[in-house]
């Protein structure tokens, strides 16, 4: 496959479970494609060189910086952004925990942080605080600090673990 530098080529991907397509030059970053071409402005763009983590989205499930990826590289891939989290019944458990624990103030970095936390919680069911802090070290937050975020992630991990305990085990616990 070859795309000329001045050519706008069609990129089709699955964004938050819906097939979407738009046009991008080869040099267009994925974050700009999401925001400017697909109108998905939930993803924020910070440093544009992979340091701050604000633009983190999930690519085929993996939390990745969308400024360090080209739109053309996302062809055919599954993308999940912060817009995927809240459902009809309101904010997701993770979003509610962030609110409860005061894990955000201005919210600029939050869109990316939530996507990292989602992947992390899927892969590490029972994380230690050190593990959560290591995962969060890929993000910069300049107003809140990280304590509330750490508490929120640990809180959600606990709640999700409790929710997945099989019925039989719960009965045993009651005894």
């Amino acid at each position: 496959m070859h795309a000329r530098a001045d050519q706008r080529i069609r990129v089709t991907l699955t964004l938050n479970s819906r097939e979407r397509s738009g046009y991008a030059e080869p040099r267009t970053q994925l974050c700009d494609f999401l925001r400017h071409e697909l109108g998905a402005t939930g993803t924020h763009v910070g440093c544009e060189h992979g340091v701050c983590g604000a633009c983190t989205v999930r690519v085929d499930g993996r939390a990745s910086r969308s400024c360090l990826m080209l739109a053309v590289q996302a062809e055919g891939r599954r993308l999940d952004t912060v817009e995927s989290l809240a459902g009809e019944e309101g904010l997701s458990d993770l979003q509610q925990a962030f609110r409860r624990h005061h894990a955000l103030q201005c919210g600029f970095c939050t869109a990316g942080i939530l996507m990292s936390c989602e992947e992390f919680l899927e892969r590490v069911a029972d994380p230690s605080e050190a593990q959560v802090r290591d995962m969060l070290s890929g993000h910069l937050c300049r107003c809140t600090g990280y304590t509330g975020m750490v508490q929120a992630v640990l809180d959600v991990a606990r709640t999700r673990r409790e929710a997945t305990v099989p019925d039989s085990q719960q009965e045993n616990n009651d005894v």
Partner: protein, 281 residues
């Protein structure tokens, strides 16, 4: 910033990728995970006319444990290698060092071979490859492949022995030697930042192989006899690397880190625990 304009190529075979590299020479750059290159492009520190993406080449995506080494194909991400079952037993140094590479989010896309190809003197993977005496496998447009020892491959800051029409197809990390111990320490401004000094050690009963990253223009590996007191050998090593002052640290501080961390690393002890804190991959 945004990258300068380039043509984008996504070849479907190694041969095709090598042909493109040959045809466009200096004006072409390879991209795999892009976790180093994209930042460089965004800041326009590099403005290649052609970007050759190897993501479409299927047969580069493998991790194989062979007789004496672990082979990692050019399509494998750092996160995938970290999650490879038995990594800590097969190549313990990688399990220790790789959690220091960037962050969870960059390891998800950054490739193992990409880091070797980038050859940043402070990067962890080149240091591991050099310390273990691993090899880089390159293939050219005629389909001929050659193997290069790590010590010959790294030639300076972001400079390697790769020829213009060659693609790194695989890197080979020697498997753990029975009885040897593997240790790793790093000092950076923050966890995930570029190393000011990174040290990797292979400790046998009568000798120590010590690798140093972040100081010279490439990772350097030296063998030290195992004395009761390694201070003199470490001091000589520290002075031999041509440390320089930069924005992050002075040359004197780097030499001091080599001496102090080197001593700790060779002695062993609780410091390894600190490294283990983030072993979830």
């Amino acid at each position: 910033m945004k990258p300068a304009a380039f043509d984008y190529w996504r070849p479907s075979s190694r041969r095709e990728a090598c042909e493109l590299l040959h045809e466009h020479g200096d004006e072409a750059r390879l991209i795999a995970g892009g976790q180093s290159l994209m930042a460089v492009l965004n800041m326009r520190l590099a403005q290649p006319k052609h970007l050759v993406d190897i993501a479409g080449i299927e047969d580069l995506h493998y991790i194989e444990r062979r007789d004496d080494h672990l082979a990692v194909g050019a399509g494998v991400t750092q996160a995938e290698l970290l999650q490879y079952p038995g990594l800590a037993e097969a190549v313990p140094l990688l399990a220790l060092a790789m959690t220091w590479i960037g962050h969870w989010q960059t390891r998800n896309r950054g490739t193992v071979c990409g880091s070797i190809a980038h050859a940043d003197p402070s990067a962890e993977l080149p240091l591991c490859l050099a310390t273990l005496g691993g090899q880089v496998v390159l293939e050219n447009r005629r389909g001929k492949s050659r193997r290069v020892m790590a010590e010959d491959f790294f030639q300076g800051v972001l400079t390697t022995d790769r020829r213009q029409d060659e693609l790194i197809t695989e890197v080979r990390f020697p498997l753990a030697r029975p009885g040897a111990e593997y240790r790793f320490r790093e000092v950076a401004m923050r966890h995930g930042d570029f190393a000011i000094v990174a040290l990797a050690a292979v400790i046998d009963s009568n000798r120590v192989t010590l690798g140093v990253g972040g100081v010279a223009d490439r990772p350097v590996s030296r063998e030290l006899a195992r004395h009761d007191d390694p201070s003199e050998a470490l001091n000589a090593l520290a002075w031999s690397l041509g440390a320089e002052d930069d924005a992050h640290a002075t040359a004197a501080y780097r030499r001091q880190l080599i001496r102090e961390l080197g001593r700790e690393l060779i002695a062993g002890g609780p410091s390894d625990e600190e490294n283990a804190h983030a072993r979830q991959g």
